[in-house]
Symmetry: C2
Subunit: 729 residues, 2 copies
């Protein structure tokens, strides 16, 4: 597979050469203890088989290697040039590389966009121009380099080294924007756990090649089972989406440590690299939609990636726990419960068999407390009994026993088709049993909380993967579904210069074209028309002033609700127009909307906005001022499928309860809401270029079987600043 | 101090003897690899200086020690007897110990209440009878024993041993209900981090001495700086409260790992020990009120306890971060932001000084990215510059440099009066630098997330301690405040047999006695009285049927709101009574309440219920069905202070926003709400024995300056099951 990819795509060919160079030039090589010196000595220490060409105008040799004085002097076009010289000289060196026919370059030097200065940004733009003109592909600048551990190529300037390269080689591909993290704690953490990488790539500012490019390459390498990423900000959101989709297709998980959970962190990362961290809720939504596994810390990145390398796919979600200790077992059970894992009771047969082994001691339950039997000859039978229980899908062993326990667990993990996970409760420094476990087929965790979260992620990933792949057809069908005139009306928005916002009536017409149910209503230009409309619709009705200049009708006094008779209609009609003219003297008024009154089981807000990285984003939240203050909402990147919509509804706190018929109230039309959300997301995709934002507020969910209805709607055209919706927090 | 305590209190005397025995009898000693054998060999391996008396009817020697055949044969009354024999023989052995004058006992044997059988419970009750009759104090049963590390006494049957006892001795006292956890992962985790204990006590079933007893002893030992606890369930909630108060008084933190966050865990722990895990929200509230530091996993217990041993009290909450890496710094900053830590910008002076050292490289900001300067001669000046910045209160160094970096940090932590915290980003297995740091004066963390949480807890603990100690006077004043007749009326509830619930009117009279504002209202027995009451109160009014048999008035049709005139009053009055008689034909009706109508900025629910372990508990939540479905609420154990009330209000999601005047609405009377909550909690304390529960629903918060008012209230008398309030989830 990899060969095809590499031969057909120049970008992947460049990455392939970078990671498998037969010759490396080091521009800025030195013997001193700085980046240029460490880079050369790292290559030497790890026994690199590539031919090395140190370049330094003032030296004849570097660490006994013959030294060249300049790039043009190189005897041949090398596979990889590492640039480790002051920033002002980098561009010239790269031009010389291109001229020489060098096949790829990694720029360690800092002093580009990350400075935040005009000069730095200009220098980076210059580098990008070079790439597009010459076709020379570049990793960096402001990175620490890369390593192909399996091939003992350590082309990196970090001070931390894998001492035993062969032992350290594994099937995880690591891509880290931060060089000092990738070649620092992410190596230390992996080595403490005897987890190995095949590749380590630090991408720095990503002026040319970005994290997603390397991840895509690795996903297509049959020797890689999992891609681990540390990302501060995506240079291209779209490309990351493609990467995540590729990962699903090839069935290899992406485990991601993403900076930017908090404003403080976003700010720090922003000042540190050129990448923006982006909106965290939108990214979290995208990760859920694409089965990207987001983790929270260094240890989780390593342990989770390792789990996905080793653990078999589970058939279901029921977890069994066994330990030598009741206290450890119940604490682990507590942690499992916190993340919503289910620990079912053992079947009678399993319980009886365990009881037979345990006698009076311990507890033949789930979690099973098997006391000293965890360490003696009884353990293989105990574990076998649990693994044979059809009511359990994942088995966790929490212990710190000796070599025989480790062998029992490894054998079971090897032979059984269920995932077997080990929670090590001993010391990290154990040199007898722990390495056996770490090198065995069962993934190892070191803390109850991390272990429970790990298992949760294993289950979630496989469930999400299955769901997303089976939704593929649905997604295709939806996109092809819309009639020409509906799409045309959308398209006209771009050319029609009639103002920033579409009024309620116009907005609803567009929604309606996508099958989103809206209120029955009529736009009237005088009282007579209003009388007639109200008679047709039936009292009570609502009155609303329609004006593209009044996005917030309530504040303008432009709404009257529950009008019960023609007398009241006459009275309110005039009064409302007087109020509006007084409060908004310059608003162009198109007419008055006479509208049916509808009340629902729940009033929601559904909105679409545009994320600069991921395009249109759908938001669903509870309506009403109290709940707005609480901020219960869920997000997804458009388009969504029906199962996405159901998950969204589940994520809006309290909503599932309300729709199920809370406290004796009627239950809501869940299916109609699901379908409506999908349709809104479809509109958002088709309106990608013409609509900046959409708000349906409120969207009423009617009792079961009666559907949903948009009571009010507001579309803001693209090209206009969405700040007009300033009250959306 | 410890001497006084020990000489004046027989319980502490027994604990003191247990932890400092000069002679130990081991009942059930053996040479085999089981509990009795490990117990003896552990004592021998760790060089115990106490005299040892193995007891085994079938042996003459055990590991070359002369063996006794029975307890009566012992040559003297030993300080400590360890009982490691089958459960059915334990009681007899303990009676013999008592007779012999043995000063204390630790029962390793299992087979008591933890079995969940009648037999097990009876055996444990028998043990408790022995304790109360003989005065012999017992640790266990179903535990692993205890250790006085500082004195090299390892009276425990666990297989994990501190190999170098002197190196392992520290100033943390560890109390663990789970023996296998205390003598398992909590030792391994501590040793990996070179964190030392002074005592390790496993308490098992706590038939006699419980965790709190040992914790209290340790808190009074001047050599202990922090008490670390692992608790599955408190045997006595009240005693734990006393323990937490003692901790505040002596200024030593309690760091607590409490099982029972989830239902799964509670169930598992319940089946494992005799202790109930209790309500997690109530316990969390109590921990906040008493500055008990709750942690989430083994590593956090150790690292947090160690931090409190070492870190100086901070003057403020502003955190500085410095690292050799921008990526590590910004990830740590992200983690800091997640837990609400503030990383302010550096002062101009600090920034300029850093810039001078760094030159063109790195970033002179917060977080500071000082690149290779973290490892060279520039670092002492960098750290000194940051520590001199008056705008920073805590300094975190995130790195994995060499010995000189470690020395610089240690020196700074020693000399500076700010807390200095180290985040180690290298390997756990580092043997050169890491041990220097671990043995130095700066607390060490190993993951960015744990480090940020640790600093958060440092700040929170010191803030809470200060707040609680300064609230002490207020708490005393409140308790003495209430007039005799108010308390009498409460007392009468106990003797008055008029039913399970107090009607709204009665409930409000009692609240009113404690200064809780209630609606103006009048209980009327006929329409004429209602007319006259409504005229006095002023229309619109509300009508409510008053009956102790109707706790849920709305469902019974017993409420009419917004009655605007005497005509409407007449109409609704009759209609309401007809409806109620039809729906609740057997309800005794005391009359009809005519009540003023009040609307507020926010409608809340305030309730009191009784926790079986901690007594009356106050709950504050948002009212309204939507928000009920969301479940935004906060809890505190009564009584509370004004600052507790303010924190509660802050914890109810959305409430602070609402009270501050959300979206142009009026702001609410925060001070009145605070005072009202304190008063309700006062009532709850005085009504501890007479009131089972209280609900004020809704409690309206009026605009600023206008107070709060209880619109409805319901008291359920004690001795009656609170299930009547079944709709409270």
């Amino acid at each position: 597979m990899l060969d095809d990819v590499v031969s057909s795509d120049s970008k992947f060919r460049a990455i392939h050469v970078m990671l498998n160079p037969r010759s490396i030039a080091i521009v800025g090589a030195t013997e001193r203890a700085q980046y240029g010196g460490r880079f050369v000595s790292n290559l030497l220490k790890t026994g690199c088989k590539a031919e090395l060409f140190p370049i330094n105008p003032n030296r004849e040799t570097i660490f006994d290697l013959p030294c060249y004085h300049s790039i043009p002097e190189l005897p041949a076009a090398v596979d990889l040039a590492a640039i480790i010289i002051p920033a002002p000289s980098v561009l010239e060196a790269l031009w010389q590389c291109a001229e020489k026919g060098v096949k790829s370059a990694v720029v360690i030097s800092a002093g580009f966009a990350e400075l935040g200065t005009e000069e730095g940004r200009a220098r980076q733009a210059e580098l990008q121009r070079l790439v597009s003109e010459t076709g020379l592909r570049v990793c960096g600048p402001n990175c620490l380099g890369l390593a192909n551990v399996a091939e003992s190529i350590w082309a990196a300037a970090g001070s931390r080294l894998a001492t035993d390269m062969t032992a350290f080689a594994g099937s995880i591909g690591l891509v880290s924007q931060s060089g000092a993290t990738g070649f620092g704690p992410l190596i230390a953490t992996a080595q403490d756990r005897r987890v190995g990488y095949r590749y380590i790539v630090s991408t720095g500012n990503e002026a040319d090649l970005e994290s997603s490019d390397f991840a895509q390459y690795m996903l297509q390498d049959p020797k890689i089972k999992v891609v681990a990423m540390l990302v501060e900000g995506f240079r291209s959101g779209r490309k990351f989406v493609e990467t995540a989709e590729l990962a699903l297709e090839v069935g290899k998980p992406i485990v991601l440590l993403k900076v930017g959970r908090s404003v403080v962190g976003s700010r720090a990362a922003g000042s540190h690299t050129a990448a923006m961290t982006g909106s965290d809720v939108v990214q979290d939504a995208l990760f859920r939609q694409k089965a990207v596994i987001r983790v929270d810390d260094y240890d989780e990145l390593i342990e989770t990636a390792n789990m996905f390398v080793k653990a078999k796919p589970p058939r279901g979600e029921r977890v069994g726990v066994v330990s030598h200790s009741g206290g450890i077992g119940s604490f682990l059970a507590d942690k499992c419960g916190e993340v919503g894992l289910e620990l079912p009771a053992l079947s009678d047969g399993t319980r009886d068999k365990l009881r037979e082994i345990l006698g009076e001691r311990g507890s033949a339950a789930n979690p099973a407390d098997v006391t000293g039997f965890a360490l003696n000859d009884g353990f293989p039978a105990i574990l076998q009994t649990l693994l044979s229980d059809e009511g359990l899908d994942v088995q966790v062993v929490a212990s710190a026993g000796g070599e025989s326990q480790a062998a029992t667990v490894s054998r079971a993990a090897e032979e059984c088709d269920k995932p077997v996970v080990f929670l090590w409760t001993g010391s990290f420094k154990d040199t007898k049993t722990l390495p056996l476990l770490q090198d065995g087929p069962a993934p190892v965790f070191y803390l109850p909380g991390r272990c429970a979260k790990g298992v949760r992620r294993l289950l979630d990933y496989h469930a999400a993967k299955k769901r997303i792949l089976s939704d593929r057809t649905e997604r295709q069908e939806w996109l092809a579904k819309w009639p020409e005139d509906t799409l045309e009306r959308l398209g006209m928005l771009a050319s029609n210069p009639t103002g920033v916002i579409l009024d309620e009536h116009e907005s609803k017409r567009i929604l309606s074209g996508f099958g989103v149910p809206v209120t029955r209503e009529s736009l009237c230009i005088n009282l007579e028309e209003a009388f007639s409309a109200a008679a047709t619709i039936g009292y009570p009705v609502a009155l609303k002033v329609v004006s593209p200049d009044i996005p917030h009708k309530t504040e303008a006094g432009a709404v009257r609700l529950g009008i019960g008779s023609s007398e009241e209609l006459a009275d309110q009609y005039e009064n409302m127009l007087r109020t509006v003219r007084c409060r908004c003297p310059h608003a162009a008024i198109c007419g008055v909307l006479v509208q049916e009154m509808r009340g629902g089981v729940a009033e929601l807000i559904a909105g679409v906005s545009r994320d600069p990285q991921f395009g249109p984003v759908l938001m669903l939240g509870l309506g009403g001022i109290l709940v707005e203050a609480i901020g219960a909402a869920s997000w997804r990147v458009c388009p969504i499928t029906q199962s996405d919509a159901r998950l969204m509804i589940g994520e809006v706190k309290g909503l599932s309860k309300l729709l199920a018929g809370f406290r004796g109230r009627a239950s809501g039309d869940l299916d109609a809401l699901v379908s409506c959300l999908v349709r809104i997301s479809q509109m958002a995709v088709h309106a990608r270029d013409t609509v900046a934002s959409l708000d349906i507020n409120p969207l009423a969910v009617l009792p079961k079987g009666q559907g949903v209805v948009a009571l009010d709607a507001l579309i803001v055209r693209a090209g206009h600043n969405a700040v007009i919706l300033g009250d959306q927090e």
